[in-house]
Amino acid sequence: MKFILSNTWLLFLTAFLVVFPLAFPLLSFVNIVSEMLIMALFAVSLNLLIGYTGIISFGHAAFFAVGSYTVGIMLQKLSGSLPLAIPSVLLCAMIFSGIAALVIGYFCTRLTAIYFSFLTLAFSQIVYAVIIKWASFTGGDQGLIGGIPKPPLPFFGFPIDMTSPFSLYYLNVILTILSFFFLKIITDSPFGWILRSIRDNPERINFLGINVKRYQIIVFIISGVFTGLAGGLMALHLSGSYPDHAYWAKNAEPIFMIMVGGLRIFAGPILGSVIVTELSAYLSSYIQMRGLIFGGILVLLLMISREGILDVLAARWKAIKKANL
């Protein structure tokens, strides 16, 4: 309870997300906010590694794709035979991406720094190659086309029609907000503080008798599980899974969100997702130059501030508080 009260911003966010579509049922709002939330979950999960633990995964698209394809393939193959089809496939998406994260993390955490990053990238390329080449199972470079069936979700005897974008929106809101709460609890726990100290001084933490590699693998798996959930939700949102989800350029988006929003503050990637998703919707007519614009902004950010919006604001806030004491 105390925890919930100390994170009032998440409660306000939830209240707004729940109430706004009830008052103004706009399809465009529901669509873009779903995308923002899903990408925010991707970015927050990734930031658990980048911002909190200081290990940079460039291969998280692999878990996003595992989640996405798990949901897509299972729903297409099972369609309707399970009473709780959607929640069960989302759970499977989390389990499978967790297993993938265990295997990939086991190898990658043997290396440090840039080697770690590139190895994660190499593994995500394997996932991409498997998706492209195993066309009979994954649909190859076309992706899973033909739509994903969304069986109704029984809710106290009332089946909820999941094909409606509004019910899908509420599913996204519930699951992403719950994940945010869960991840926030993790980052505020002793476990989360050990992660921060690994980021700041891994040697010292090692000398204190803490198994750095084990913590890195655990956080890698947690991050992979929630990235997989984000991928699964994205498959439902798009009603399809595409090899693009595993392509390494897909990694650029959450990393960009983290950089824009702030990497030392939990809510940073969420703000980043709102800004970047809105920006890419705005830029969709310049799709050819997306990389140029995003890359250009990223270079500028790195040359000028190296901090996201919330990092800067938090530093200001601390300075003001100090001055008032």
Binding site: L111, A113, I114, I126, M289, R290, V299
Partner: protein, 300 residues
Amino acid sequence: MDLASLFNCLASPGCILGQVIGALIIAMVLFLVASGLSLILGVLGVMNFAHGCLYMLGAYYTYTVVAHFGNFGLALLLAPIGVGITGVILERFFIKRVYGLPDLYQLLLTYAFILVLDDMAKLIWGIFDLSVPVPGWFRRPPIDIMGTLVPFYYLFIMLAGAALVLGIWFFLAKTKFGKIINAAATDPEMLMCVGMNVPLVYTSVFALGSVLAGLGGVIASPLRSIVPEMGNSIIIESFIIVVIGGMGNIIGTFLVALLFGLMRSFGILGFPFFELAFIYILMAVVLIIRPSGLFGRATV
């Protein structure tokens, strides 16, 4: 799986020779890109994500030079120089500012270069595949070696490649400049103390690495179609080679590039679609047994 065709090939010397030559061609291009990557990583400590883009630019510059002057020899000279200049611009104006900062910023910066350079290539040269014809003086009847027809251009690549491997090795191991580069990799501060201009050494190493990647692009341009994404797969392959071969080890890089080429050209016969799996398995095994790479000395 198609083991029969693999065994059929292994039974005939001509087929083996053909596959080995194919492997050598793959290995040469990979070696050029990977050795530049390895050099920059070893000396500057920067993992240059955009190294594949420099390779891509090498191919596009070749296309432009050949389209304007119709002379591949000129492209062989001009395109690597152009890529070298591009590399110097990137290093002087951008990468220089992130030396010594956490890895995140170096990775993100060179990653941002990929986004920018890929799109710039699309804007300048278009999104469609381009191709460079095999240069005129190589267009003569292929040579018949044990029943295998070997195109003349392949022979040129193999000879030029062998010369380059020896040349780079000699340059790094035996010349004064090579020794300065080694010193900059080991102890840049000490090097500065003895009066060397270390930033200049860094820039020249980056330029050299870029020229090597560009050269890879030039050589590959008559063999492969030129697309903006061509750098994205080679950068990962090159990285794997650097990991297995050991950072900064030119001979190790070459041997692993060769192994990579062999695995690919023979693997595609026996296990089409899965030929790349071997190299990943090899990488996983190497990482478990020797995290510093097969030929590496320092611990990573």
